[in-house]
Point group: C2
Chain length 230, copies 2
Amino acid sequence: MAKSDVKVLGAWPSPFVMRPRIALNVKHVDYEFLEETMGSKSQLLLQSNPVHKKIPVLIHADKPICESLVIVQYIDEVWTSGPSILPSDPYDRAVARFWAAYIDDKWFPSMSGIARAQGEEAKQAAIGQVEEGLVLLEEAFGKCSKGKPFFGGDRIGYLDIALGCFLGWLRATEKMNGVKLLDEAKNPGLCGWAERFCSNGAVKDVMPETDKLVEFAKMLFAKFKAPAST
Amino acid sequence: MAKSDVKVLGAWPSPFVMRPRIALNVKHVDYEFLEETMGSKSQLLLQSNPVHKKIPVLIHADKPICESLVIVQYIDEVWTSGPSILPSDPYDRAVARFWAAYIDDKWFPSMSGIARAQGEEAKQAAIGQVEEGLVLLEEAFGKCSKGKPFFGGDRIGYLDIALGCFLGWLRATEKMNGVKLLDEAKNPGLCGWAERFCSNGAVKDVMPETDKLVEFAKMLFAKFKAPAST
């Protein structure tokens, strides 16, 4: 496979962009990473994802594939000679897909809601929702991993990628708000998993450093708050 | 397969509940339909879907599977001897999953927004969004069906089920608001498809009549508006 045959359009701070990158690393597929410029959208992005105009986009053999979890499933189905990303059993696949949808539809909106919260009460409510979600995900980790290191068992799988891509922003959110969201006492399984996930060979080079994300978030806040202060 | 081995927890007016029912019909799998009582949640539902407490739930061999599109994929992967629901080509699968996500995340919220709209301006905006979405879906139909009767080709597939389950409510919304959303001039492909889909053997017995949905909607509105009028 020529390197230029597989491209990812993305941006380093985006957790959703990490998903196809990790999936391609798991499959040992080389790819070209095309970084979008902050605040503008390339012609290639607009052509490749005319409906949402959003990253990530995977371009494989000149065909665009959009939506991060759709891309991860595509990667799993195309590069079948590499390690499997989805579980092989249909019920386990359904459970992985269920929790991935929960993460995107419920849990991550709560986490990003911490930064958007207006006032201390709303912020504490969002923090509470994130913590409740992590208790559910701790339970899911126990059931999915069955005592093994990852949701996917011995290897990083679909649910590892779906949740793990948010670990950088989880740590940055903790640091910026002086809170502990992933807690050793309440989430012992997830704490160990998070360490293993972030240091995994398929992940460590694409997982941004917490301080770099904090800097990025401060820059974003300054930018969006600027008009109101003038 | 004993009939009682496959159960669907649902309610007749729910488009999401139609998805697993149509998928099981496509696969010629008998199932028991357990109708939830309007306004309350059964103990079986609360036990089976403790995270969202929502229908539909498929119970197969005593294991619950939740979230309508997750269930449809599960059905496709378990009953492999029946006709395939997802396309066989990975790119076509990705395209079907992309549009199914678009329908749930963007298009259907616009359609249900017509009923929720406060004031004429908001209502017209929601109608405009639905119509724009149908233009995109008309284009998707052309590309996916490749001149055949369904998104899935010769047979009902994943995207047919994902969009088709909303046809009853689309027609009821048209009737209640005196508008034509699915338009012969703008959506010629989808108009023909909608007819074929609703009269298909796997669909016709689970697709509610438009008038019955209109009655149900009026009853719902009366119920929710009642407290404000006292």
